[in-house]
């Protein structure tokens, strides 16, 4: 019996709507506490996918750092965690073990894996879909525990079509979680974001290969801290209601709306991935028919659900209500919940940055200035200092409060890509005190 963190669900919202109001917004906070570090850990599987295309040797330090980082990750694995290392180019091949399976982490397998890593040769192109397909095969025999992959690339997905990649992502969604890393500046932020989003993981840039070791260790440690896999947010809604969107808004923006799966009568399940001791916030928007002034509705009933062990029922870990109450008191219906406002702004911030950078690439400098100006303003309002610092490498800020900016002339590619990659990272607001 594996010990499990304790989950709590909290809802922040203004339930009051005007007489004809139909849109209900709420921030649903999920918190898991007390994940056992020393207690019997959950079964876990880890696949490390390293880009071994020819470009990894320009400069040579990229491949060397990636190998060292992967070796560090192998050392960071908890004893008994099943793992494998995959090298990716036009196709994927096993680095360790030689055959397509996972082996338990112990002294012997660690040493052999680290030795095998030193023999990795870089040649050929990039077909990320084929790498993920191999990872998925490897996880096949380990679907009842934590499944996590690290995917490192330095280039664009040039040796397969978008359709091929999309098909693999569709196939792999829900099968394992993947954190993606782009090393150097020749990869495509939007492409890697698509991969990490589909696989419920994070994406980041490691501009300097020297930083890969620290980053791989941190990612592996985080993966080892996960105690529950395949958590889902079940959202029940009333008859004639529609879920407009479900977005993770902290620690990063991730739209889950399209990920809905059947969750029983009048309910849909949205995948939340694997959990350790951590907290995340979600923005839920439901459209309900107005029931009239004085009436109150359960606009959504949210439940945290995990699959049961083999042959057992799924389990509900926590529940909470999202309400709608109609009033003709404008003072009540016009009040905007502070957390809803905060995260609405943070989601807009991510959009503004991505649109602004795209406009800049397209040569539409007016649009770029306007969107990045808006981003500066939103980051300032929310107190999102890390994003503000990144924005200042791309624009000169004249007045943050009004979003008055000038595009900088010489912008380092790494700075632009860092801003793009990290645009979805949000800062939290605390739940209401007391």
């Amino acid at each position: 019996m594996t010990e499990e963190p304790r989950f709590t669900l909290g809802v922040d919202q203004n339930k009051y709507l005007p007489e004809d109001g139909t849109l209900v917004h709420a921030i649903v906070s999920v918190e898991a506490t007390g994940a056992p570090v020393a207690a019997a850990p959950a079964a876990a599987a880890e696949v490390i996918v390293l880009d071994a295309s020819g470009s990894m040797t320009y400069p040579e330090s990229k491949l060397r750092s990636a190998v060292t980082a992967a070796q560090t990750a192998v050392d960071t694995l908890r004893d008994g965690v099943h793992f494998a290392i995959v090298a990716g180019a036009n196709t994927a091949r096993m680095v360790y073990p030689r055959d397509k399976r996972l082996v338990p982490a112990d002294a012997e397998h660690r040493a052999a894996a680290k030795a095998a890593l030193l023999k990795v040769q870089a040649a050929g192109g990039t077909a990320i879909g084929s790498w993920l397909r191999l990872a998925d095969e490897l996880f096949d025999a380990h679907q009842d525990g934590i499944r996590h992959a690290i995917v490192l690339t330095d280039g664009k997905n040039q040796h397969e079509t978008d359709e091929e990649l999309d098909a693999v992502l569709f196939r792999c969604a829900g099968r394992f979680v993947a954190d993606c890393r782009g090393v150097g500046t020749d990869w495509d932020v939007a492409e890697l974001r698509k991969v990490s989003t589909a696989l419920l993981g994070g994406v980041d840039i490691v501009a300097d290969p020297e930083d890969l070791v620290t980053d791989f260790r941190a990612m592996t440690e985080a993966a080892m801290g996960k105690a529950v896999a395949d958590v889902a947010l079940r959202v029940w809604t009333p008859q004639n209601a529609t879920v407009r969107f479900v977005k993770q808004v902290a620690p990063a923006v991730q739209d889950l709306t399209g990920r809905r799966a059947e969750g029983g009568p009048q309910a849909g399940d949205y995948p939340l991935g694997a959990w350790g001791a951590e907290s995340r916030d979600y923005h839920l928007c439901v459209e309900v028919p107005s029931a009239g002034v004085g009436k109150e509705l359960r606009a959504a009933w949210v439940k945290l659900v995990v699959p049961g062990a083999a042959g057992e029922e799924e389990r509900v870990l926590a529940t909470a209500n999202v309400l709608a109450a109609w009033t003709d008191d404008e003072a009540r219906s016009t009040r905007i919940n502070a957390r809803v406002a905060h995260y609405t702004g943070q989601a807009e911030l991510a959009d503004a940055i991505q649109q602004g950078l795209q406009a800049r690439k397209d040569g539409d400098l007016d649009a770029a200035t306007a969107r990045l100006g808006r981003a500066v303003q939103l980051a300032d309002e929310a107190g999102n200092d890390p994003i503000t610092a990144l924005l200042r490498k791309v624009v000169d800020v004249e007045d943050a409060a009004t979003g008055t900016v000038r595009l900088r002339r010489d912008v380092a590619k790494a700075d632009e890509m860092s801003l793009d990659t990290r645009s979805t990272k949000t800062v939290r607001t605390r739940r209401r005190e007391g």
Binding site: P238, Q239, V288, A291, G294, R298, T327, D328, D329
Partner: protein, 348 residues
């Protein structure tokens, strides 16, 4: 430990003992079902049917599993009546407040009809408990006193003080004191007696208005002829008007207008109920109500017009509450009607 009474059934509204064959509770007038009150819903099915969509899907939290509607609490809308609609009462949560903090009670002690309305003070803890305790205690005490032969004025005063003690007893400390207003009316043969603390009111609504009075005549203020208000609020506005500091309109417009200057509760000064007795020699209706009604219908003529000429007293009470709801329902709305007719003892 006191012995537990299991042989007798209790009124589901007030808990008073009721007996087989009674259609209404003697104490509070709550209509008793043909079958004993249903026990609280046990865990598991069958689920209650939704008041909105009708699906039998109401869960333990009170929400419909089909349409999501929060089911109305029992107190959200109450209708009570004495046999034959000798007296009726309607109470409604209104459209603004999350719960109904008003309460009402009816009782009969032949030939007297009794109506009590209490309005919980919103700024106090558990105002809903205060209003219920006061209305039930007041009506029961009035009935008992009248049955014991007290005259209505003495019974009215004693009942108000009894209600005050019942409310004060709810408070764990004076700093944590549930409180409410209190108003009672007793319609007796040829006589109407009212008693109050706070700003809940009694009106007399005549069945037909008398011709305009000759200004030369001296008015007998203790005789009920034309429709009028029978109580004077214990409120800041009334106090200002009484002192001549403000006109009625000025006082009503002031933000403090509805601050009450007397109430029942452990934090109240010594309770001094006002008691008035009126003679009556013509048919009409005694209207006992909370400010959720009179805010929209402050004068007796408006009240008379809003009630219309419905078929039954219950329809009249529903019409009055409906009027307040239509007008906005900003507060809980409660009204009891004690009809005075040739058959229930008015002097010919």
């Amino acid at each position: 430990m006191s012995t537990v009474q299991t042989a007798e059934a209790a009124c589901p509204a007030c808990g008073e003992v009721v007996y087989p064959g009674e259609d209404f509770c003697e104490a509070c007038g709550h209509r008793l079902g043909d079958s004993p009150p249903a026990p609280p819903p046990a865990a598991g099915p069958p689920a209650r049917a939704c008041a909105h969509c009708g699906e039998p899907a109401v869960d333990d939290e009170g929400y419909c599993g089909h349409c999501g509607l929060k089911q109305p609490a029992e107190r959200d809308h109450l209708e009570i009546e004495l046999p034959g609609q000798a007296a009726v009462g309607v109470s409604d949560r209104g459209r603004r407040y999350p719960r109904n903090e008003d309460y009402l009670a009816l009782a009969a002690c032949s030939p007297h009809l009794i109506g009590v309305v209490c309005d919980g003070v919103g700024s106090s803890p558990h105002p809903d408990a205060a209003s219920r305790a006061a209305a039930e205690a007041g009506a029961a005490a009035l009935r008992d006193r009248l049955a014991a032969g007290d005259d209505p004025a003495a019974a009215t005063r004693a009942a108000a003080l009894h209600a005050a003690r019942a409310v004060a007893a709810l408070a764990p400390s004076p700093a944590d004191a549930p409180s409410c207003t209190y108003v009672s009316a007793v319609a007796s043969p040829g006589q109407v007696t009212v008693g109050w603390v706070g700003d809940s009111r009694v009106y007399w609504v005549a069945a037909s208005e008398p011709p305009p009075r000759d200004p030369e005549d001296t008015e007998d203020t203790s005789a009920l002829t034309g429709s009028r208000q029978l109580t004077d609020d214990d409120s800041w506005a009334a106090l200002m008007v009484a002192r001549g500091a403000l006109s009625e309109a000025e006082a009503e417009a002031h933000p403090n207008a509805h601050v009450i200057t007397a109430w029942l509760g452990a934090d109240a000064d010594e309770v001094e109920p006002h008691v008035r007795t009126f003679s009556v020699d013509r048919p009409g209706t005694v209207v006992v109500c909370s400010d959720g009604l009179w805010n929209y219908l402050p004068d007796a003529a408006a009240l008379r017009a809003a009630a219309g000429s419905p078929a039954t007293p219950l329809d009249a009470a529903r019409a009055l509450v409906g009027h307040a709801l239509e007008a906005g329902g900003r507060d809980n709305i409660t009204v009891t009607l004690l009809p005075v007719t040739a058959t229930n003892g008015v002097r010919p």
